[in-house]
Symmetry: C3
Subunit: 401 residues, 3 copies
């Protein structure tokens, strides 16, 4: 048998031998307490779960690298507490929710949603120093169908913005929240995605992958008109970046698709069926820890029954596909999980089409450094009267504008 | 939709933000070779398994952070050897037990229960220097239905104490040993518990959790009379700590429940049905490694068939319960596993009712430091004539004393 | 109950207490990029998979501590590329194989088997600087039914040797390759073995374990005549070590079994049924990473249908045996996995019968150090005219020589 060589014998260029070590962009991907990006993220209210997911049964949640317990007391108030009972450390996951809060199973200390200790049944007279005790807690509020937490410095607590795309509900409209990272597998089967928030965040200002990944590579995952390679312009807005993707469709119509990224991790993706109109939803790429995120979204709709239909590939939901089928028809999950738990940014070769990603990262870098230096980042609002935020997203057909 | 806030807007106290790093008490929880607590623990005989569990089939056991092989040779002698064959490192787990010891599968070296090398079949003349070879071993002995090992300095080997509650078996009485960590899940389904020995050890001198966890929180897990919050006195004894929990029952009877902790990890819990009489059992919280332990117990009984009935919650054994059912009816396992693999003691807030725990830990700290300084700890006995140890435990009804 | 002690009370020798820390031989077991053994291994062509295993479906392979993607383009050329797309880091595992190479799913960059970037569809004019881009790659070639890679310094690329036992195929003969680590479990069920390559490599020049492990301990796993303890001579050859194991069989016949180890990780084990004749196969102990290896072999045969019959123990394949059955009938897998993921060589006690292992390790150590000092190791050939290598293995019955 003759030797079969697949390569030019003397081609010694570009070998994988001796590659330098590769590293992630730590500034943008480390989100734990005390890290620059973690402190930056903590300056904004972050959604934790959909309101409907928060019940009288205690749940473990991880967010920004912190393990917490979320529950709703029997009077309806949501609470977000440090898990380890301040007394002897047993997790409040094993606690019992009562009218006024949650009671540790071990020695019965009762804590309100604000962490105040209300009972110490094994102590003399129910605990003479009970009022001094407080379980570590975070403030939470509910709006837009979501439970929001503020995990930053108490004296820097901002108001929750009023994004115009979610305000002024019309008769018949409701908010439909989703905390299952819908945008990755599109069947809700993997609520926490096993990779850095930055992978998904990078994806927001990346209109080109829609043409490849979602249209020409893996069949039409959204709509056929995305197969037209767009002309794209990126620009900064006050609190983020937008792109305008212009396409002239085969039927002669011209459409501008405007998509919005807002600090720190917010996207308003227009209707993915390419239908005319303004954006009607927001989604948040919430860091769970350095190597996991959860996409939490909410949208206004007058048709709540059909808001999140699972995407099917050859009739199958993602969770039912084999690895081989996922190789044949990859989607956002494969493209982003395929970058690893945390991508190795030092190896990247950003190109012309990555301009939006570069702009996002530049803005993030600036604002993270600003917070590290003691400043207040863009997009943080302290005055309720100034809470309204304009979001420019939409699909705008030129014959209808 | 109006904003719903669960907390007072300007309440900035007690936030979970900026918590300091929390740490375990390393002195009391690290048990590997060379650690202060590990060396302290090694000064006492420790039970490894029930005698009935040690057979001619080699088993892997971990104890005090060391992986070992336990077996019984075909003449009935238990052996506890370092697993890696001294010749080429193959685990004796794959060895064959013979009359005189265990033979490595790879090259056939045969070792006695005392580690002596008896055969080297591939060597000239069966191994001319065979007598110099010795597989690392620990001395073991059997008593009270248990196999005991001494893992400390050979010249400090004490005698095995003769605890009075286990001595002087009466006609018809036998020892019933249990090496399945019965006291945590109470169905034997998790023989090795996934948390530090100190969690369970702390539990010994904690009579108050019985009222909360075992009676008012999760239904009556032992007996209804435990719902009476006791008056408790703690006191040191020579080699440990005891508590006396006085209760006046609803029927007017008065009962003193005396429970005993002895160095280093020994408990004598009185009858948990609150029946009159002295203790008749001992249990040992044996550290497997820093984050695992195994509770090994033995009791004298004339009714061996019914010694360890599984505890049922709504008709279910623990191993059959869902997580939600365990949340609704937590038991010792949840309370202790809920402290994490190793609790973060720097965060604790010990209160009045934790006095016994504080006393135990103080005594442990003193004795661990004593050993580190070269001393012999309390409870270690070198003279068989002085081996008898009095154990004060029992439920004592005042009308019967 | 009287105390039963299994050991002499005052025997304090040889205790497992206070053992010193044990360590692997790092020089011989670390195989990642930049390590001395890793660089040494990279100077030789290494088999990656059987040719039949390399298809148009991308596969993840790990070799010498590097994660790579292997595939065959639709023109039949095998390719071995760094997995993370040089553009934005998505793994080419999710790529699509085309005529000319593999296309990343995210933004569609197309790479040839030599790493050249052929298309950048989202870039203006298809990528004006496309020719400068190159995905890190390794050269591969096919021969003897295997796909070979050269992962070393490009300017040190040798020729693939022509081992005489595999050359000059006779009419009717074919190569039968196996990449399932056949030699350990002998049923192909664990293609990647979970321990250091050195465990298996040590096994090559260890004729004595055949008598114990494979014959007298676990029944006859090869052939009954191996029960005769051989007289063994070891000797160096130019590029390795051989042994000659002389046996006088019960029927009076005399047989010399010659087995060959060649640098760096090559074995030619003669027919294991002890039949007369020269070796007709080679096997390579390919390091996957420090604690895993894959044995890849190929043999010439005129009977390809029956080349790798699974070995049965009491009628069962290894993968169907219980742990207890594996304890009763251990094989190479148990003996070698039983040394741990990486053996602790500092604890070994090599004896007379380990002479061959010592010779192999000495040669490896010398050659590894030679490469570290800039030299070319033994067994590396740069001139195709000198590529032929003589392999002395065989079973030679003296009445037939």
């Amino acid at each position: 048998m003759a030797t079969q060589t697949s390569v030019t014998p003397n081609d010694t260029e570009g070998s994988a031998y001796g590659r330098p070590p590769a590293t992630p962009n730590a500034l943008l991907t480390q989100v734990g307490p005390g890290t620059p990006c973690g402190e930056f993220m903590r300056r904004y209210w972050q959604p934790v779960l959909a309101s409907a997911s928060v019940t009288t049964r205690p749940q473990e949640v991880r967010i920004l690298g912190e393990d917490l317990i979320i529950f709703r007391d029997r009077k309806g108030r949501p609470g977000l507490l440090y898990p380890r009972c301040m007394h002897r450390g047993t997790s409040l996951f094993w606690g019992r929710v009562e009218d006024e809060g949650i009671r540790c199973c071990y020695h019965g200390w009762l804590f309100g949603v604000d962490g105040r200790c209300l009972e110490q049944p094994c102590e003399p007279e129910g605990g003479l120093q009970r009022d001094l005790a407080r379980q570590p807690w975070y403030p939470v509020q509910e709006r837009y169908g979501l439970v929001w937490a503020y995990m930053g410095p108490p004296n820097k607590r901002p108001v929750l913005p009023r994004w115009d795309v979610l305000e002024d509900l019309q008769p018949g409209e409701v908010y439909l929240a989703n905390d299952k990272s819908w945008g990755t597998t599109r069947d809700g089967s993997m609520p926490i995605t096993p990779y850095s928030w930055l992978h998904m965040n990078d994806n927001i200002m990346d209109p080109f992958h829609v043409q490849v990944l979602h249209t020409t590579f893996s069949n039409v995952q959204f709509v056929a008109s995305f197969a037209v390679m767009p002309k794209v312009e990126f620009e900064y807005i006050d609190n983020g970046v937008i792109y305008k993707a212009y396409r002239k469709l085969d039927d002669g119509r011209e459409v501008d698709r405007v998509s919005t990224y807002m600090l720190p991790n917010i996207m308003c993706v227009p209707n993915t069926q390419h239908e005319h109109g303004r954006g009607n939803s927001l989604a948040f790429v919430v860091p769970i820890d350095d190597s996991h995120c959860r996409i939490i979204g909410t949208r206004r709709t007058a048709d709540p029954g059909n808001a999140y239909p699972p995407y099917l590939t050859n009739g199958k939901k993602w969770c039912d596909m084999t690895v081989e089928e996922r190789q044949d028809f990859p989607n956002d999950f494969e493209a982003q999980a395929g970058q690893g738990p945390i991508s190795l940014h030092s190896e990247e070769h950003l190109a012309t089409s990555d301009k939006g990603i570069a702009m996002q990262r530049r803005m993030l870098t600036q604002q993270i450094n600003l917070v590290a230096q003691g400043g207040d980042p863009l997009g943080v609002i302290f005055d309720e009267a100034k809470a309204r935020v304009r979001v420019p997203s939409g699909n705008f057909y030129r014959d209808r504008v």
